[in-house]
Amino acid sequence: MSAVSFDAGESVAPADLEEAAEALREAASRHRTVSFLGGGTELGLGYPPQRVDVLVRTAGLTRIVEYAPADMTVTVEAGLTLAALQERLEPQGQRLALDPPLATAATLGGLLATNAFGPRRARFGSLRDLIVGVSLIRADGARVRGGGKVVKNVAGFDLPKLMVGALGTLGMIATATFRLHPLPAAVRLLRVADCEAARVRALCRASVAAQLEPAALLALRAGGHYSLHVLFEGFEAGVAEQAARFARLAEASGAAAEPLEGAATLAALDREARVHGSVRLRLAAPPSALETLDRAALLPLEAAFGEARAVLYPSLGVAFMGGFPADPAAAVAAIGQARAALESVGGHLVVTEAAGDVAQGVDPFGTLPGSFALMAQLKARFDPERRLNRGRFLGNL
């Protein structure tokens, strides 16, 4: 869990969407700033809000508005946790194909606002690929919607995707509609232990070349090496064949792939690495620059952090690292160097959680994108008084 919390003047927990809209209308009429709180798992992301007059908690907004198993779509209120949703979908053999850590605490609203994801992103994409509709409560308290409840729809501008990763600075996510996927009938998890970064990259490439379609690839960093985990999902005949072929690819590269028990193992390994440390980072680079990510970012960061843990999604070029830096100045310097190295290859480094001197010493996001002026315009149109999560977003929007 995040160690961060917001100090708010007032806290409200609306029992339904109309009460939530009323809370935002009330705040608008009194020019009060508003922040939102779901499961509180990613409060460290972004700058701390500059002022929180009203904290709107979504704990009471947990309804499943509509679930249409035959259409494989579901509409939920923002405060529903991912685990509660999956529990409801499971008896129908369906799931939301999203696997961030902390599914029991994290809410769909919070996951959307932070664009959270897990290792299955390699196969199913991120929330922008899964959301098909959204309803919002705007800064002025008006309830509006975009997209719809059908999976294919190009009517109007794509407000649902615009909300993904916006950290609640354009409006409060009230409900969201997602496309669902079938639960796999069978899974296979394989591990290739003790790989160097170059071998991780080579095995990823070989897997693509062999036309294998893993559901997830995850490399845990330990002692400067990685143990690469590959997950196959599908029907028994398919996963058995894919796993056997991947094992042969590993063997051909001089390594051995051993079978592990179950997908729960993968989730646990991912969580242990990602939900760890007083300072946490998300790093990104092109998959072809995996060695840069390894040598110019993870290696020096590991040296500057105490008890560091890191996990890599190699086919996505994304890594997460956390630890307890004993020397904040050294950690700040290492983060700066790693960020420069990643930005030089087209990647980035986001500080997803930090405290004390480290938080003071580094910007959470790094270099502003060239489109920042447009983003500022967008914010100004949606929230002209800058009352929603004031200052928390990129560029203190």
């Binding site: 259409d71 999976v151 729809n153 070349a209 294998l212 398919g238 092109p286 315009q377 008084e385 800058r386």
Partner: protein
């Protein structure tokens, strides 16, 4: 800055303005030559632009936009002009920026699975260029042999295989964009998620109203190891619809599932010569793809399900040539309508997949009441209907009745919780229905997005939004550009 909002520039003025930017050959002001650009695939509505400018680079697009802005001219970007909703319909007091000359694939990065391409590149040419390396570009609108990537981005084009692989928006990760003020901006992130708001996603499908894409970075996918296709016929669309639902309920995600009703089959057989039976009520054409063993399993399971759902016959193509012929039949369906009717309206509505049978019956009853026939050929897997309302323009009143039926079909889609467009876009054709699908506040919120990008509303005015809206000033430190005050009138 000149304010010429009232004066319509002459051909000579326009040539003097734009020819120095793109060269005289690429600046069209002759009325006879302008006729080519009067409409896109929505041929019933025509507007002659003042000029057509054909730039060859991002810099030329930017200079063209700046020049148009100096003269307060509206700007309509155009790719191949195959759009079916009038998204590239010109504006009378405006220019068309045609991007057909920007037709190069600038680079392909196989390891990172990305290609950087110019907007005038033809959709199918992307896949053709990389097929030898075992890769392809997934979005496959039926017009893919002629439509351009720039147009695909503007309309968020789909296609048969978006059931499994998603739409254009799921495949475009970054773009170089010329904004309404002529500034050049990079959106999205070539590899990792871009920081900040997801402007890339909102640009895709914005129908040319937020910016002009001059380069796009798209995902390219490894060709699946195996594709299995089958064609199955049914007594009626009810059994075919049940079959689709049942396949999906068994946990199978087909790459594509297309349905054709009896009338569509008749037209396709007449036009393409495929040997499909004419005494059936409906047919399904389905692809499953992926790793070999997985596909062998799912294909066998799907055939079994089709049989248990009452399929009259299931055909599996014996080779790639036969498979290609089956798909050619499906992709040529719209064009085939000419064999069974002098005229037709193409509609594009979406409903929840589970409602297919009921909605098709309602559509048939509606058409029957008006004495018209409707052929259906559509993406059944995602509930994206393409009813083709057949009529004879020579019969007085029939065109009007067909248009009414076509519009009423959209209302049925809305009533069933669907949408007025799944892939053709709103454009000029369906703007009037947007107010039935969305509330005024919803549209106002979408309009804010437009104002953030284009406060003067110079880019493709009159599309998507049903009623005119002004942008107004942005309060606070974000000062509007001075030329905003010379903004254009007109719907939207």
């Amino acid at each position: 800055m000149q304010d010429l909002a009232e004066a319509v520039p002459t051909s000579e003025d326009l040539a003097a303005e734009f020819a120095p930017i793109v060269g005289a050959r690429h600046c069209i002001t002759e009325p006879s030559e302008l006729r080519t650009y009067e409409c896109d695939g929505l041929t019933g509505v025509r507007v002659r632009p003042l000029a057509v400018v054909l730039p060859a680079s991002t810099a030329e697009v930017a200079a063209t936009v700046k020049a148009a802005r100096r003269r307060s001219l509206a700007i309509v970007a155009r790719g191949s002009g195959t759009g079916l909703s009038g998204g590239a319909l010109p504006v009378a007091r405006g220019i068309v920026v045609g991007l057909a000359r920007m037709n190069r694939i600038l680079g392909v990065d196989f390891e990172n699975q990305r290609a950087r391409i110019q907007p005038g590149v033809i959709n199918l040419d992307v896949s053709r260029a990389i097929a030898g390396n075992g890769y392809y570009y997934a979005p496959d609108p039926s017009s893919q042999s002629i439509c351009s990537i720039g147009g695909n981005v503007a309309e968020n084009s789909g296609g048969a295989h978006c059931l499994k692989y998603g739409f254009t928006v799921n495949h475009v990760v970054a773009a170089t964009v010329v904004l309404a003020d002529g500034e050049i901006v990079e959106l999205g992130g070539e590899h990792a998620d871009a920081l900040g708001y997801d402007l890339m996603s909102v640009l895709v499908g914005s129908e040319g109203m937020l910016g002009i894409v001059t380069e796009a970075v798209v995902r390219i996918l490894r060709t699946p190891e195996l594709t299995r296709t089958f064609f199955a016929t049914f007594p009626s669309t009810d059994e075919a619809g049940t079959c689709v639902s049942s396949i999906v309920a068994h946990g199978i995600v087909p790459a594509a599932v297309e349905m054709m009703d009896a009338l569509a089959i008749e037209a396709i057989v007449k036009a393409t010569g495929v040997d499909w039976p004419l005494d059936v009520g409906a047919a399904l054409l389905m692809d499953v793809d992926g790793p070999r063993a997985e596909v062998e399993h799912t294909a066998a399971a799907a055939v079994e399900i089709a049989t248990s759902c009452g399929a009259l016959e299931v055909r599996v193509p014996k080779d790639d040539a036969e498979r290609a012929l089956m798909w050619k039949g499906r992709k040529g369906a719209f064009a085939a309508m000419g064999r069974i009717s002098p005229n037709y309206y193409v509609q594009d509505g979406v409903i929840p997949r589970s409602e297919i049978s009921r909605v098709l019956r309602e559509i048939a009853e509606l058409a029957g009441r008006e004495g018209l026939r409707v052929a259906n050929v559509f993406h059944a897997g995602d509930g994206n209907l393409h009813p083709l309302v057949l009529y004879d323009a020579r019969v007085p009143g029939e065109a009007r009745r067909a248009e009414e039926v076509s519009g009423e079909i959209l209302r049925i889609c809305i009533r069933y919780g669907g949408s007025i467009t799944g892939e053709h876009g709103v454009g000029a054709d369906k703007a009037v229905y947007m107010g039935e699908l969305f509330g005024d506040r919803d549209l106002e919120t979408m309009h804010w997005v437009r104002c953030a990008f284009d406060p003067t509303r110079s880019l493709n005015p009159g599309k998507v939004f049903p009623t005119p809206r002004l942008c107004g000033d942005v309060p606070g430190p974000y000062v509007a550009h001075p030329s905003e005050r010379s903004g254009l009138a007109g719907r939207g």
